[in-house]
């Protein structure tokens, strides 16, 4: 067993590795990350995750629900550290997995992967407390500077392979349209389907009915459970695409998915402009790089000032235009706590994915991950468009409509901390008393 595998095993048990090993790990990680562009290309199938924030036990729950590395491909959209009590264990484990399985896991930068923010929100203090000096914090911050700013997911299937035994999919779903495509599916942590939506099957000869419904998270996931039997999941989690596709109708018409921690920037009108940023630095207080990590979508038109003091607010029109110009069907981002774990906005043009359940041990929210299946209908060939997909067509015409990928959300709750034989400090959340 290699040192790296030993380190992974140790970190999985929520035990830290020696400082010298952290140093070596961070060095290797930087060597790896420096080769990545600002926008990493990732092939479906992939499972997209939002903020983790040092909630190590919940990260373990995420892997339980979503499948383990390297069986499942993962894309983490930043904010690994701060707030929770196990930022070090969480980030170092993810970093080990990255070094061990570089093609299986993608890490992009969140606004908390910054020297300034980590000194306010806990990661710095945690490093001092657990290692007795700021050395490990410094190594980690150097890694932060090399993390990619975004990722483009290519080759996602427009249709989900049904998970099979959905126990309850008539209560909260749109009824399956005759010959309809399964577009979205929401599962609870037991793998039970709690909600689904369908769209009419794409027919090349007619104008595609792009029925990308704005699905709302179910109000109460738990209400939908409590049924008979636990369905068995077919295949490896994260590879929800069907083995043979469903015929030639679903050719590679699914637009690419841009993943970024925060959102868009008024200084960035194309994915290519992201590639031009000199990213290897502390997150600046303003400018394109700052915006990508700090901005939020909002129910406004155009751009607005962010109450966070960094980044901007952007409306549905901005998202629509950006997606259109870049051949994207979806922007996946994290950054904002959403009580239901995920939230689609602007007719499904953008989704927030939040992966820290009961955030800060206080918020009472559930978490989610987003699985995109692989489109195998093209014999595995992926249109490598680097985000330029469809742009050359000018106005997207008949048969060229970019449809959104099928989206499977797995919703999960906070892990029971004391059941895994791992050290778990009783979290104390601040209130006003």
């Amino acid at each position: 067993m290699s040192d790296l595998d030993r380190a992974i095993e140790q970190l999985r048990a929520c035990r830290l590795i020696p400082e010298s090993q952290v140093r070596e790990l961070c060095y290797k990680a930087r060597e790896l990350l420096i080769e990545e562009g600002n926008v990493v290309s990732v092939d479906a199938p992939v499972t997209i995750c939002g903020d983790i924030h040092g909630q190590f036990h919940d990260l373990m729950e995420l892997f339980r629900v979503g499948g383990d590395v390297p069986d499942t491909n993962y894309l983490f959209m930043g904010d690994f550290v701060d707030r929770g009590f196990y930022s070090l264990e969480s980030f170092l484990l993810l970093l080990c997995l990255k070094v061990r399985y570089p093609d299986r896991i993608t890490l992009i930068r969140g606004n908390h992967e910054s020297r300034q923010i980590t000194t306010v929100y806990g990661f710095y203090d945690e490093c001092i407390r657990k290692y007795g000096s700021a050395n490990v914090w410094r190594y980690c911050c150097e890694v932060f500077d090399y993390l990619a700013l975004g990722a483009i997911v290519l080759g996602a299937s427009s249709e989900l392979e049904p998970t099979g035994s959905s126990m309850n999919d008539t209560t909260q779903s749109t009824m399956p349209i005759d010959d309809g495509e399964l577009e979205t599916e929401v599962l609870n942590s037991h793998g039970e389907v709690t909600s689904t939506s369908y769209r009419p099957r794409f027919r090349p000869s007619s104008v595609a009915s792009n029925d990308s419904r704005n699905i709302s998270p179910p109000r109460d996931i738990s209400a939908a459970s409590g049924s008979t039997g636990t369905p068995t999941r077919t295949g490896v989690p994260g590879t929800g695409a069907s083995a043979d596709g469903n015929g030639s109708a679903t050719t590679s018409r699914t637009g690419a998915v841009l993943c970024v921690h925060g959102g868009l920037s008024p200084l960035i009108d194309s994915v290519d402009k992201i590639r031009l940023i000199d990213r290897k630095q502390e997150v600046p207080h303003e400018g394109a790089m700052c915006d990508l990590l700090w901005s939020d979508p909002d129910e406004i038109e155009g751009w607005g000032l962010s109450p966070r003091g960094a980044g901007f607010l952007f409306g549905g029109d901005i998202v629509k235009q950006f997606n259109h110009l870049n051949g994207l069907s979806l922007v996946a981002r994290a950054h904002q706590l959403v009580m239901e774990g995920y939230k689609e906005m602007f007719d499904g043009g953008i989704v927030t994915v939040w992966s820290a359940p009961n955030y800060c041990y206080r918020c009472g929210n559930v978490a989610a991950i987003l699985e995109l299946g692989e489109d195998t209908s093209n014999g595995g060939t992926i249109a490598r468009s680097n985000g330029e997909y469809g742009r050359s067509n000018g106005v997207l015409g008949e048969g060229n409509t970019v449809v959104s990928p099928g989206r499977r959300y797995r919703v999960f709750e906070a892990a029971a901390q004391d059941t895994r034989g791992m050290p778990a400090k009783k979290p104390v959340a601040d209130y006003f008393l």
């Binding site: 041990y361 206080r362 918020c363 009472g364 006003f432």
Partner: protein, 374 residues
């Protein structure tokens, strides 16, 4: 700066304290047995003072007394959302208090008024008011468990600026400290070691709080205090003032509350269970779960001239002017907007009053934005 003369309060208390009948009443009143739950509630004061010091040291609040009333070993930097919440809570109550006390007239004086703070703990408001309003023309009463009043008196004894604020060093101001060191009385400040639950069983309200002038316009303050009592006890504490001690009088009377609300959503449920693991029970929370329930509470307890309530998020948005908001926002990067909104929606300030013989006494409160709806 020359060190001011600090009187030895230990010598002051001898004999003189016992010379007044009032102190005997005070001493006799704290016979309630202290339970483990009481200790937890008493400990919540420490949380509040640590949060206040954090907000002061980062520039949210100006409060020269915060440090003196916080145990140094507990000092810690709170998270930005906690600091902002502490800021909003403190300044909102300051504003209600200021509007109650009123501005000095052209002659430089204000009408004499009185504040009674329930479960005041290490609160610094009395020191800030006496320093900022000269002459203050204010009688300030604080009621709390003996363990908390004793700690405060110890702090006063060892801290010159607290004594200056109370005008203790001037020889004209009589200072009386009880034998047990848990009650303190000056001409304008009274610290009573009292378990609030003992009020309702008292046969003689005025003997229990002998320094309360029942003819003065009076403001009661409960900052996260009544919520730890059972609904019946909390009602009885307020009734003790509205019906018994001040009941027969016609002086104006107001009440300001600050406490959690909305226990029934995901955040609220988590709050209740998290606090329960610390042994803290917010006993009236479910009874006064909504804005409307708070308003109804005030109506039911005789504050018939006006009742209003607003959550902390509303107060931050509506009571804090833009310039000040910008100043506060610049103090720290507050990244967690969604969490701030969640937290701030789960605390409220409620205020209500009865005019009595002075219909103008609470005029200053009528123009404060209140939050409509549930």
């Amino acid at each position: 700066m020359a060190a001011p003369h600090i009187p030895n309060l230990n010598t002051l208390r001898r004999g003189r304290g016992r010379g007044r009948g009032g102190l005997r009443g005070v001493d006799a009143s704290h016979g309630t047995r202290t339970t483990a739950k009481d200790l937890v509630v008493q400990g919540t004061d420490n949380d509040a003072s640590v949060s206040r010091l954090s907000a002061v040291e980062l520039g949210y609040l100006g409060d020269p007394f915060a440090k003196a009333l916080t145990a140094p070993e507990n000092a810690t930097r709170r998270l930005p959302i906690i600091n902002r919440g502490t800021y909003v809570r403190t300044t909102a109550i300051d504003q209600l208090v200021d509007r109650f006390l009123g501005l000095p007239s052209s002659g430089g004086t204000t009408q004499k008024k009185q504040i009674i703070s329930l479960g005041a703990g290490s609160d610094t408001r009395v020191f800030r008011l006496f320093t900022s309003r000269q002459p203050s023309n204010l009688i300030y009463h604080e009621l709390d468990f003996a363990v908390n009043t004793s700690a405060k008196i110890r702090a006063i004894r060892t801290t010159p600026i607290l004594q200056q604020a109370l005008d203790i060093e001037s020889s004209s101001n009589d200072v009386l400290v009880s034998e047990a060191g848990d009650a303190l009385h000056t001409s304008s400040y009274h610290l009573y070691p009292l378990d609030l639950r003992s009020l309702s069983s008292s046969s003689s309200p005025s003997e229990l709080l002998p320094h309360v002038d029942t003819t003065l316009p009076t403001l009661l303050i409960s900052e996260c205090c009544l919520i730890y009592l059972s609904p019946t006890e909390a009602t009885e504490v307020v009734s003790f003032f509205t019906e018994r001690l001040l009941g027969p009088q016609t002086a104006p009377l107001g009440l300001v509350l600050y406490e959690p609300i909305r226990p029934n959503d995901a955040f609220g449920r988590t709050m209740v269970s998290n606090l329960a693991t610390r042994g803290i029970q917010l006993q009236t929370l479910h009874k006064y779960a909504t804005l409307e329930a708070q308003r109804e509470r005030f109506r039911g307890q005789g504050f018939t001239s006006g009742q209003a309530v607003a959550d902390i998020e509303f107060i931050w948005n509506r009571w804090v002017d833009e310039e000040e908001k910008e100043r506060v926002s610049r103090l720290e990067m507050l990244d967690e907007m969604e969490e701030w909104q969640l937290l701030a929606r789960h605390y409220c300030i409620a205020w209500g009053w009865r005019e009595g013989d002075d219909t103008a006494a609470f005029n200053g409160w009528t123009t404060l934005p209140a939050q409509p709806g549930e």
